[in-house]
């Protein structure tokens, strides 16, 4: 039997991107929510709730980007020029340290943290939208226009992703904080849960019309089965979030919000497969030669479980509620 290396790698990269979206999603969401929590003490706690783990979360983005270069170099070379990544991540990244180093400029770095998170999340949503629309490739190179990524659809996906990230952020705060801060986060999470599901609905109704391929996937047999099951599961997650928020099971809303993201992600995956740059390149078109794929695969199969283990350990070390005055600053 021939092992389909390209398929295995597509799965690994897809996993890395999903890990990134859900993990950095909640800490970007916390950043965006800074705008709604003006009190300094609340902000201290909010930032400290993600400070020990944010760097690891963003490493999954580097793995997604670096992995693309390694195993799907052609996709990397064509997706990225079309999606010129702006600078939000820089501002929010440095704000984690800078904010504690100054009194006079604390507000400046608060704005940098919230604004950077907002810009980064919005851009990722736009990038997703641009990818779903499809990217033209001619002669192994990007063949689209300068402003192709900017359409009503991509802006809508940007907004939808922001709503989703703030849901992750607010449920994270419900889980990690207490008192008045947690109570506010709980109220926000309730509203954002419905907003997120509504945004997913709009996205799902809009996407099939972007490409004939998607229409076929969504309404053709057998993939149409998913078109029935996924919405039901989404409603199930919504129910779990609402119940968790009402009954005070503080971890449940966060976990159910992760479930929403995984479902949405699976839906996109089903629409795409086997394209990596819809509808120009399949995973086999873009794959690196087998020597490259297998060399890195050996390492990934050993290292990714180890990484997951010590990442889980780091989360375990910082488990429980964060109180004001914790952190090393």
């Amino acid at each position: 039997m021939v092992i389909d290396l390209a398929f295995i790698w597509a799965a690994i990269i897809a996993f890395a991107v999903l890990a990134y979206v859900v993990m950095d999603g909640f800490d970007l969401g916390v950043g965006i929510l800074f705008a709604l929590f003006p009190d300094k003490k609340d902000r201290d706690v909010m930032m400290n709730s993600v400070a020990p783990v944010w760097d690891g979360n963003e490493t999954w983005l580097v793995l997604g980007g670096g992995g693309l270069l390694a195993v799907f170099p052609l996709a990397y070379a064509t997706i990225l020029p079309a999606l010129y990544m702006p600078l939000g991540l820089i501002f929010r990244g440095v704000a984690f340290e800078y904010r504690w180093r100054t009194k006079r400029w604390e507000r400046v770095w608060d704005v940098a943290f919230a604004g950077g998170s907002l810009v980064a999340g919005f851009c990722q949503g736009i990038a997703l939208g641009a990818l779903v629309q499809g990217i033209p490739v001619v002669d192994r190179a990007y063949a689209g226009g300068w402003w192709d990524w900017l359409t009503p659809f991509s802006v809508a996906t940007g907004i939808a992703l922001l709503i989703g990230y703030t849901l992750l952020g607010s449920t994270w705060l419900v889980m990690k904080t207490e008192g008045e801060l947690a109570a506010r986060a709980r109220r926000l999470a309730m509203q954002l849960a419905f907003a997120t599901v509504a945004a997913m609905g709009v996205f799902s109704l809009w996407t099939p019309w972007q490409r004939p391929l998607y229409l076929d996937r969504w309404f053709g047999f057998p993939t149409a089965i998913f078109s029935v099951i996924v919405p039901l599961l989404v409603l199930g997650c919504l129910y779990l979030i609402v119940r968790g928020l009402r009954t005070g099971r503080d971890a449940q809303p966060f976990l159910a919000a992760l479930g929403l993201f995984i479902l949405g992600y699976a839906g996109i995956g089903i629409s795409f497969y086997p394209y990596i740059v819809p509808t120009s390149l399949t995973i086999w078109d873009a794959a690196a030669p087998p020597a490259s794929l297998s060399f890195l695969l050996v390492g990934a199969l050993v290292l990714v479980p180890i990484i997951l283990a010590y990442t889980a350990y780091a989360y375990w070390v910082f488990r429980g509620k964060v109180r004001h005055g914790e952190g090393y600053h």
Binding site: G56, G66, Y84, T102, A141
Partner: protein
């Protein structure tokens, strides 16, 4: 303002700018991570609180510098795709897996244990915390290893074939990673990182010795830094010499540019100390030279022949003046570091290491020297391998993305503005942190069994809570 430049020039300038801004932080954090590891080890071994205080002091500085390194590094990894898509497509099958391994073995290790190192001492206890510090330090070194394998492969590519799409295909991974210049470059860079940190630590120690606020801690770090200078600076000069001989073998045009040798010298080449390279006229104006010395250094014989740039086609020559000057700057700083190291040994022998004001002043002035040397060294090696991105195979002019000049210009301006703002502020905070070494405890408190941490004046903001 940018209408006179094409996309290639702008993309090259953008890469040079962002990579220069980036290399400063890893160069410092590689050394600082190892330094933190040593400090914590000494604290655990001797139970001397001074080491723990120094650990906390440098830990905060490390965290700020590391954060700047991470965000400037994200820009680098994406820039390959945005500006250098052709290069990424061609070289991806070879360098991509190496960078993938860097992420898997180094970045996750650093990021996973950084949180524990910064925030977790009370939660996990000293043993596991020490392990976390060790993992962060190990991560920085592993990261350096992979990225230097990538860079070295681009300088001296081996172990590959080229397929019908013009892509580089790995044939022998061992040869790809252990390409001819890799061991030399790796040693040279890691030593450079250690020296850079040593001179920063030395400058901070010397500054506080001059200010006399915390003589005990200031002397401890100054003394450690001067040991590093005395031991590592000579090693670095030897490593640099070996690296130079390796370059002569594999990239002779680079050495010709470093030496300013436009002409071949069949009977022993002179060492040009100074001069103004004139590439148009193919000569070095106002040259001050020592006859035959270059042949002695590079070929270990006074009359050994040494080829010049006249043996290299003009369109394959690097820009001489930049390489010539950056090389001299790097070597000059290296010997100045050696001088300080030797001077410190003399002072140590005489027992004046803590009191020689002039040594302290010079050490403060030399604080940024490591960064200048690292940048000068990278300029030498990167400009020296032009006009190629993959030496001998892919021209820089054939590597960039099909994007228009205005697109590159816009992002370039954005990067310049953002970097000056963000990294300017960061450098300011770093300097301020370095200037705020908590006072040594007064003697009666030191004799007590427990020293309350609360009495040390903390940083102005963030309070003294924590730990």
């Amino acid at each position: 303002m940018f209408e006179h430049f094409d996309a290639l020039v702008l993309a090259r300038f953008q890469f040079a700018f962002t990579v220069s801004a980036h290399i400063i932080f890893p160069a410092f954090s590689i050394g600082t991570a190892s330094y933190l590891f040593v400090l914590e080890a000494l604290w655990l071994k001797t139970k001397d609180k001074t080491y723990l205080e120094l650990f906390d002091f440098w830990k905060t500085i490390f965290a700020v510098a590391f954060g700047m390194g991470v965000v400037s590094g994200i820009v680098m990894s994406y820039q390959f795709g945005t500006n250098w898509a052709v290069f990424s497509d061609k070289a991806g099958p070879v360098i991509g897996p190496l960078m993938g391994y860097e992420v898997l073995t180094a970045f996750f290790l650093e990021a996973g244990f950084l949180g524990v190192m910064l925030f977790g001492l009370k939660r996990v206890g000293p043993g596991l915390h020490f392990l976390a510090t060790g993992m962060v330090a190990l991560g920085t070194l592993i990261s350096a290893t992979w990225i230097l394998a990538v860079n070295s492969w681009m300088q001296t590519p081996t172990g590959f074939a080229i397929n019908e799409n013009g892509q580089f295909i790995p044939v022998d991974w061992w040869a790809v990673i252990f390409n001819p210049s890799f061991p030399y470059r790796l040693v040279h860079m890691v030593l450079a990182a250690y020296l850079t940190t040593a001179f920063v630590v030395g400058a901070v120690g010397a500054w506080h010795l001059l200010k006399r606020t915390a003589p005990l801690r200031a002397y401890t770090m100054f003394s450690m830094a001067m040991w590093m200078a005395a031991i590592v600076a000579p090693l670095q000069i030897l490593a640099g010499d070996a690296h130079g001989l390796n370059t002569l073998e594999h990239q002779p045009a680079k050495v010709m540019a470093m030496e300013g040798h436009f002409d071949s010298h069949p009977n022993g080449a002179p060492l040009i100390l100074f001069g103004i390279p004139n590439q148009a006229e193919k000569r070095v104006d106002y040259a001050v030279e020592i006859p035959k010395l270059s042949s002695l250094i590079l070929k270990h014989g006074l009359d050994e022949p040494l080829a010049g740039l006249d043996t290299i086609p003009e369109d394959k020559q690097p820009p001489v003046a930049i390489v010539f000057w950056s090389f001299r700057l790097m070597v000059g700083i290296g010997f100045a570091m050696l001088g300080i190291g030797m001077w410190s040994l003399l002072c140590r022998y005489r027992g004046t290491l803590d009191s020689n004001v002039w040594l302290h002043r010079v050490a403060v002035a030399m604080g940024p020297a490591g960064f200048a040397a690292v940048l000068a060294g990278w300029v030498t090696t990167e400009v020296g391998r032009q006009p190629f991105t993959i030496y001998g195979h892919v021209l820089t002019a054939e590597s960039h993305s099909p994007i228009a000049a205005p697109a590159v210009a816009t992002s370039l301006i954005a990067f310049i503005v953002v970097y000056f703002f963000v990294f300017g502020a960061g450098t300011f905070y770093l300097l301020r942190l370095m200037a705020r070494l908590p006072r040594d405890p007064s003697p009666e408190l030191m004799e007590g069994p427990i020293r309350a941490r609360g009495i040390t004046p903390g940083p102005a903001h963030g309070g003294t809570h924590g730990h």
